[in-house]
């Protein structure tokens, strides 16, 4: 991590809607306050449902379009809820709230490579279809910056 005496530290928080989401937000805010850092929060709208349902070759076009629109609606709703929860707790910590569509891990990695010092992610990371995949392993493999994994609070 960079020293706060040089350029201000930049943190990226990958938002998710899993069991560890709240702790990851709190941890990112705590670090940002301690280090006087900027904190950007990123919510990726999972756009891989079309590929995931590739085995669906029987549905009519209308049926598939209806399904993908339905999933898009749910993703947007999740984005709005995560954003609201983040903004409620962020207080005076500077930073932006970002939303981008795509493959969740790819988009987070792309953003993390844009000069961030630390990426904060909850573990397990359960955004969209990443619930089925090993998102944390993919994010930490050749990570473009330091990564902090925040476990879900014990039950």
């Amino acid at each position: 991590m960079k020293s706060p005496t040089t350029t201000p530290m930049k943190l990226l928080l990958a938002l998710d809607d899993g069991p560890g989401a709240r702790r990851a937000v709190d941890e990112a805010i705590r670090i940002a306050r301690e280090k006087g850092a900027t904190l950007d929060a990123l919510f990726v709208i999972d756009a891989t449902w079309d590929v995931f349902t590739g085995h669906d070759w029987l549905s009519g076009c209308n049926s598939r379009i209806g399904f993908l629109e339905y999933m898009q609606g749910l993703e947007e709703k999740a984005a709005a809820e995560s954003a609201r929860a983040f903004l409620e707790r962020r207080g005076d910590v500077p930073g932006e709230l970002l939303t981008a569509p795509g493959d969740v891990v790819d988009v987070i990695r792309e953003h993390a490579a844009r000069g961030y010092d630390l990426l904060v992610v909850s573990s397990p990371f359960t955004r969209g279809l990443e619930v089925m995949r090993d998102a944390v392993a993919r994010l930490t493999r050749d990570a473009p910056c330091d990564v902090l994994l925040v476990r879900a609070a014990p039950e």
Binding site: F52, G54, H55, D56, S59, G60, S63, L74, E75
Partner: protein
């Protein structure tokens, strides 16, 4: 999103499509003939005869290898558009399959197929609705699994999801369960069929009734017997499959109505609106092709035209099945779990076994054509 224009879109398809075509070419021209000659356990052609490793299963396995090993779990961007044509190939193949029948032949087995399919589709759906309640499953999970286990896997889950407000996680787990079960049955069924000396008629009827996903019904029938002709496993299996596909809108209506009955803010769902949005239009192509065949427009059995058409069909399906394999992500299937997995396994195994018992008891070895 960047608009590539028509030429750009066609160009984007080329790399992935070239991989699929090249793969099938190598498998059909070099690998399968080698396997037919290879001596394993002292028996020539054991790999093909016992394990059914013909070009159909090899296509799927190679597609799975590409996705999970070579591509590291994700179809790369350069190949994405090409692999996306998979659905088009399989649908085209199914439409061409219509040429294997004439209406009088369809009538001979149609009654049995309709009776069995309707009984199994609605029987399974009702069983899952009951099972879901017993297991304390969420109503939307139960509804999605009822459609997926009752009709044809992923397509039915996709068609039902919006109407029953399926949650993304549950839906993902349901689809993973259906695919996992289907892949297992796809590799095991030809072996069981040969062990029990099932005829093509019996095998097609069993697989068409018992396997959850339509793509896998097709692949399993072709793994059992890779020939395209009247009276082969794929010819019988596809009749069952088409009847099942036609059930999709009715099952979606039935399950959606069941779901909304228990919800306070129920919306009106009409069968007409569901038929309009969920009807699988490509089935009309299949029926159209059967009409051409019935009118002897395509050519008589044994004609050059039909011979060529069946050869094309084998390539069309083979290419599509390489793509089908490439859509199978082992990580996603391994992640299947929770209530959808329990429901899927109980319903799937019951359907598979009961279908086998009924076929052995009531379906004769000799097919109707």
């Amino acid at each position: 999103m960047e608009d590539k224009g028509l030429f750009g879109k066609i160009l984007a398809i080329v790399p992935g499509l070239a991989v699929m075509i090249g793969t099938l070419y190598v498998l059909r021209v070099y690998v399968e003939p080698w396997m037919k000659d290879a001596v394993v356990f002292g028996s020539k052609g054991w790999l093909v005869q016992v394990l059914s490793l013909n070009y159909i299963l090899l296509s799927i396995l190679t597609g799975m290898f590409y996705r999970n090993i070579l591509f590291g779990g994700k179809i790369p961007t350069w190949a994405e558009e090409g692999f996306r044509t998979t659905r088009l190939f399989i649908k085209t193949g199914v439409i061409m399959l219509g040429s294997l029948y004439t209406f009088d032949k369809l009538l001979k087995v149609g009654g049995v197929a309709i009776a069995l399919i309707v009984a199994f589709v609605f029987g399974t759906a009702l069983f899952v609705l009951w099972l879901g309640k017993r297991l304390g499953a969420d109503r939307s999970v139960t509804a999605t699994m009822a459609a997926a286990c009752g009709v044809c896997g992923v397509s039915a889950a996709v068609a039902t999801a919006p109407g029953v407000r399926a949650k993304p996680v549950d839906l993902a787990l349901s689809i993973a369960t259906i695919l996992g079960f289907g892949i297992m049955t796809m590799f095991v069924s030809p072996f069981i069929g040969k062990m029990l000396s099932l005829s093509d008629y019996q095998f097609g009827a069993w697989v068409g009734t018992g396997i959850l996903n339509s793509g896998q019904v097709l692949a399993t029938c072709l793994a059992f017997n890779p020939n395209f002709a009247p009276g082969t496993a794929v010819a019988y299996g596809e009749i069952w499959n088409v009847v099942r596909v036609l059930c999709i809108p009715f099952v979606v209506f039935f399950i959606t109505a069941w779901y909304w009955k228990g919800e306070a803010d129920a919306e009106h769902v009409s069968l007409g609106s569901i038929l309009a949005s969920k009807f699988p239009i490509f089935v009309l192509g299949f029926i159209g092709m059967t009409a051409l065949s019935s009118l002897h427009i395509i050519g008589a059995e044994g004609s050059e035209t039909l011979h060529l058409m069946r050869d094309v069909m084998a390539w069309v399906f083979g290419i599509g099945l390489v793509g089908l394999g490439a859509y199978i992500d082992v990580r996603e299937i391994k992640a299947a779990g929770g209530t959808p997995l329990r429901i899927g396994l109980i319903a799937g195994v019951s359907k598979y076994v009961i279908a086998m018992i009924i076929i052995l008891a009531f379906i004769p070895k000799e097919g109707a054509f």
